[in-house]
């Protein structure tokens, strides 16, 4: 059942929030052991909240669109009074002392939180294999990874263990698992949604976004959680895609007429089956839209650029996990050995690899060669998009280069990083991007989310 369908049924008193929430809780009880999508389920709280919703509906209140909607929340988004571990050991017992902005918004909108979902530790990874609590499985086949880092959220939605979910996306962490699990996921425009209460990974790239069954549901959640927040100075006032001062005047054209196909995304390395599916979608779209090939010439540098910038930001963001004020502390002989011991035992392999890489690229003598150069290339990647969006309204590309891989298949870090090759550029440029079946990605100019929803809904009718 989609959010839209559930809302109509709740409004017409054809269904209760209680029976809906219990049907999800029962399914979780039966299937989560195999799927490992949830790290913790908030059974009692979800049931209580559902009963409250039912009482209010029975009392004659008109339910809001998200009333009683059971949502799964990625484990790096803070819910007051609940553990938020980011699937790490060092925060394994950390209880959030405040609500993330998006949680506050969803609570006010009447949504119900089913639990916190599995992910790659501190959102670093593309398969959930970096979770300190064992990987989540792909509902399409348990030998396959669900993608990552928001793999638990995508698996929960795809497996029917949640009506919708929240994830976070730094280089593809919403879109890649959504694509792998066959659901829909949005990486919003940087600044569209507050990051307050999101455990930081790379602050100039991180965005929270929805993972849902349909484009319509993505739109509903996006509208509910976007907006300016005093607690995040990079969040902006949401004025749909007519955002003044940011982006381009052409953004004001909400209707999609011209679709760009970025040729660099279809070069060697793209799975033949995925390409065939996308070609079929383009063929159908060509009846009603102008299709134009465009070029984003700096795409080939995106992955290198991304890993330099991410590692640099990670090394600084992860410095706060030292076992002093919160999290797991392991006492050493002196303060510095306490830091080292706490971090050594509490932080996993991939995170440590990125901390060291970031420390290296920011160190004296290497800063210009790596970090400064990467930030310049980032400007070029952003310019590529600016130029493309002068010609077309939306870009259509694959979301991933290949279908889901098997557990243990990607052993060296670089081959794992390559699975994000098509999602990374949108983060570097800050533009919004939507992943939807079959392995598709739509990209719009800054604050052009409405174009993604408009075209996404058209593509959904092709099924």
């Amino acid at each position: 059942m989609t959010i839209g369908e559930f809302h109509a049924a709740l409004k017409n008193k054809k269904i209760s929030a209680r029976e809906t929430v219990f049907s999800y809780l029962n399914k979780i009880k039966k299937e989560n052991k195999g799927l490992n999508a949830y790290l913790e389920v908030f059974e009692k709280e979800a049931a209580e909240k559902a009963e409250e919703i039912d009482r209010r509906v029975a009392a004659g209140e008109d339910p809001g669109e998200l009333w009683g909607v059971p949502i799964a929340v990625k484990d790096n988004i803070l819910i007051r009074g609940h553990i938020a571990s980011a699937a790490s050991k060092i925060l394994g017992a950390y209880v959030a002392s405040y609500d993330a902005f998006v949680i506050e918004k969803l609570k006010k909108a009447g949504a119900i939180f089913l639990g916190r979902t599995n992910m790659d530790e501190f959102a670093m990874g593309s398969s959930t294999e970096n979770s300190a609590y064992g990987p989540a499985k792909n509902p399409l086949g348990h030998s396959l990874v669900p993608g990552g880092s928001s793999g638990g959220s995508a698996a929960a939605v795809a497996g029917g263990l949640a009506m919708a979910a929240l994830g976070s996306d730094t280089g593809g962490s919403i879109r890649q698992p959504a694509a792998f699990c066959g659901v829909t996921g949005l990486k919003p425009t940087y600044g569209a949604i507050s990051r307050s209460g999101l455990i930081s990974m790379a602050s100039s790239l991180d965005q929270i976004g929805p993972i849902t069954q349909t484009v319509g549901d993505t739109e509903i959640i996006f509208n509910a959680i976007s907006g300016k927040d005093e607690m995040d100075s990079t969040s902006v006032t949401w004025v749909s895609d007519t955002q003044a001062g940011v982006g381009h005047p052409s953004n004001r054209l909400a209707k999609v007429e011209k679709i760009g196909i970025p040729k660099e995304y279809f070069e060697a390395g793209l799975d033949a089956g995925i390409k065939k599916n996308i070609d079929a979608v383009i063929e159908k779209l060509s009846k009603n839209y102008e299709i134009r090939e465009v070029s984003l010439p700096h795409t080939k540098y995106a992955l290198s650029c991304y890993y330099i910038i991410v590692s640099a930001e990670v090394s600084s963001n992860m410095a706060r996990y030292d076992g002093i004020r919160y999290g797991e502390r392991k006492e050493g002989e002196d303060l510095i050995s306490t830091y080292k011991k706490s971090r050594g035992e509490g932080i996993g392999a991939e995170v440590r690899r990125r901390i060291l890489l970031g420390t290296y690229v920011l160190s004296h003598g290497y800063y210009d060669a790596y970090y400064s150069r990467a930030q310049r290339v980032r400007s070029l990647i952003g310019k590529d998009f600016d130029e493309a969006f002068r010609e077309v309204d939306v870009l259509l590309s694959p979301a991933v280069p290949a279908t889901p891989f098997k557990f243990g298949e990607k052993k060296d870090p670089l081959s794992m990083y390559l699975s994000d090759i098509f999602t990374i550029p949108a983060n570097l440029a800050g533009v919004p991007a939507l992943a939807l079946p079959p392995y598709l990605q739509l990209i719009a100019p800054h604050f052009g989310e409405s174009r993604l929803f408009e075209l996404g809904k058209v593509i959904e009718t092709f099924k």
Binding site: R80, Y94, Y190, S204, H298, R325, R343, E345, I355, Y360
Partner: protein
Amino acid sequence: MAITEKDIEHLKYLARLPASAGASQCGEFGAGETQKLAHDLGSILEYADTLNEADVSGVVETTHAVAGMKNVFRADAPVNKGGSAEDIIGAFPDKHDAGHGTYLKVRSIL
């Protein structure tokens, strides 16, 4: 760019991560970890060297994630997000109740 095992040990010190000898109990980061890290970082940096092919002459670094954003200030007033002192104190890994309040406990620094 080749990364040596000595480089890794130095980076670990800078990043406050334990030296290899002390990390034998840490799964993947056991005995051969320095060697593996040197190899991994070396190959990632080698891949990153493709950035050198990009012509960045005259290109300005991206320094703000939101284009056109200026310094953002808020009023210098307390902001209460609903979190309480008890919640924050409750998260301390080690604490000391002094009778007139609870303190975060750490090893002596000097």
